[in-house]
């Protein structure tokens, strides 16, 4: 009985060590004198599996330009989002979901004209992933929203940014739609 239990413990320890050995053993042979022997158990590479962020625009921007600047980070698990360039850099390869929600009014445009707001998600600064364009006619210049929802597979190092283009007044008579506030969020759904 005692021997059996001892055997059990040995088996369990063996299995544990085996499961932690992620790298094959180095080939047999004598290491050189100045060569350090390869450790049998290598440390695991650090992989961040919990990635989620939300960046907000909390202050009104009369001329948001093509790359609206975010001014607050609500949470940033995995530290992918940076306020210095307003870009999310993918820390872990996998399937991601992004949401963009911008709130506009058209008071920058003359009352008789309509305001247009187009919003896109860009990958690595050039590839358009998804875009939405809204036109607010004169009767609803008081407020309208842009909403983007998108999931995509990304590699570590890919950069995702929000791009707004053609925020203009139809027929002239004003400068652009006014960006009141905004949200840009993302989450790693499944890591590779």
């Amino acid at each position: 009985m005692k021997k059996n239990i001892l055997l059990c413990v040995l088996v369990v320890i063996a299995v544990t060590v085996q499961s932690q050995t992620l790298h094959p053993l180095p080939p047999k042979g004598q290491p050189g004198k100045n060569e350090l022997p390869t450790p049998r158990i290598k440390p695991l590479p650090v992989k961040v599996n919990k990635v989620a962020f939300e960046a907000d625009i909390t202050r009104e921007r009369a001329s948001p330009g093509s790359h609206p600047a975010f001014d607050a980070i609500k949470y940033n698990d995995g530290n992918g989002f940076s306020l210095t360039d307003n870009v999310f850099t993918v820390p872990t390869s996998g399937l991601y979901f992004f949401a963009v929600n911008l709130y506009w009014n058209g008071y920058g445009c003359a009352v008789i004209n309509s305001a247009i707001a187009s919003v896109s998600l860009l990958k690595n600064g050039r590839e358009g992933l998804i875009s939405v364009s809204d036109q607010a006619t004169s009767s609803r210049l008081g407020g309208f929203t842009s909403m983007l929802n998108f999931s995509t597979k990304l590699n570590a190092g890919d950069k995702i940014s929000v791009f707004t283009v053609n925020n203009l007044c139809d027929g002239g008579g004003g400068t652009s739609a006014i960006l009141l506030k905004g949200v840009f969020s993302g989450v790693l759904i499944t890591a590779d």
Partner: protein, 169 residues
């Protein structure tokens, strides 16, 4: 000696099982099947299709986060604008945290040319603390000009679903 070994084995087994144990899944879907002529905030749902982890409260029509973590939600409403007759209408559907903070919102205007059915739909992820409540409200839902039949667009159908992506440590 024998007892010690058995104890050791038990402790080891316990630790292994604990390490392998997955967090309980949190997932729900609540739907509106019956037309609501004057939807109130927060939206009242008719049926809860599934409610794994019981995080959605049928009594308050709110999702209550069971633990700190990141959650994903999808919102979809199907409207009928005939309540406003020949006038246009504006719809605003918002996901609100703790009855005060707007997380995401969609504001949509539908002219009488579009009356019939139209949708307000969006998805989002957000980080919640245990006890945070997420509900759906409808503000500024009104007819432009004078209403013909009711003062609101009619809510045909709706769904509110969500799940937990991960829990914080």
């Amino acid at each position: 000696m024998k007892r010690k070994l058995i104890l050791l084995l038990l402790v080891y087994t316990f630790l292994s099982v604990k390490a392998m144990a997955q967090l309980p899944a949190i997932a729900f879907e609540a739907v509106i099947n019956n037309q609501q002529n004057n939807p109130i905030s927060p939206f009242r749902f008719d049926v809860v299709k599934y409610n794994q982890g019981n995080a959605f409260s049928e009594r308050t029509n709110m999702f209550v986060a069971p633990a700190n973590g990141v959650y994903f939600f999808t919102v979809n409403f199907l409207w009928d604008g005939f309540g406003c007759g020949y006038n246009g209408g504006t719809l605003n559907v918002a996901a609100v945290k703790n009855a005060g903070e707007t997380l995401y919102s969609i504001k949509r205007f539908a002219s009488y040319h579009e009356w019939g059915t139209f949708t307000t739909a969006f998805s989002f992820s957000t980080k919640l603390n245990a006890g945070d409540r997420v509900s759906l409200t409808s503000a500024y839902t009104f007819c432009t000009g004078s209403a013909v039949y009711t003062s609101h667009a009619l809510l045909h159908k709706g769904s509110f679903s969500g799940y937990r992506v991960y829990a914080d440590q």
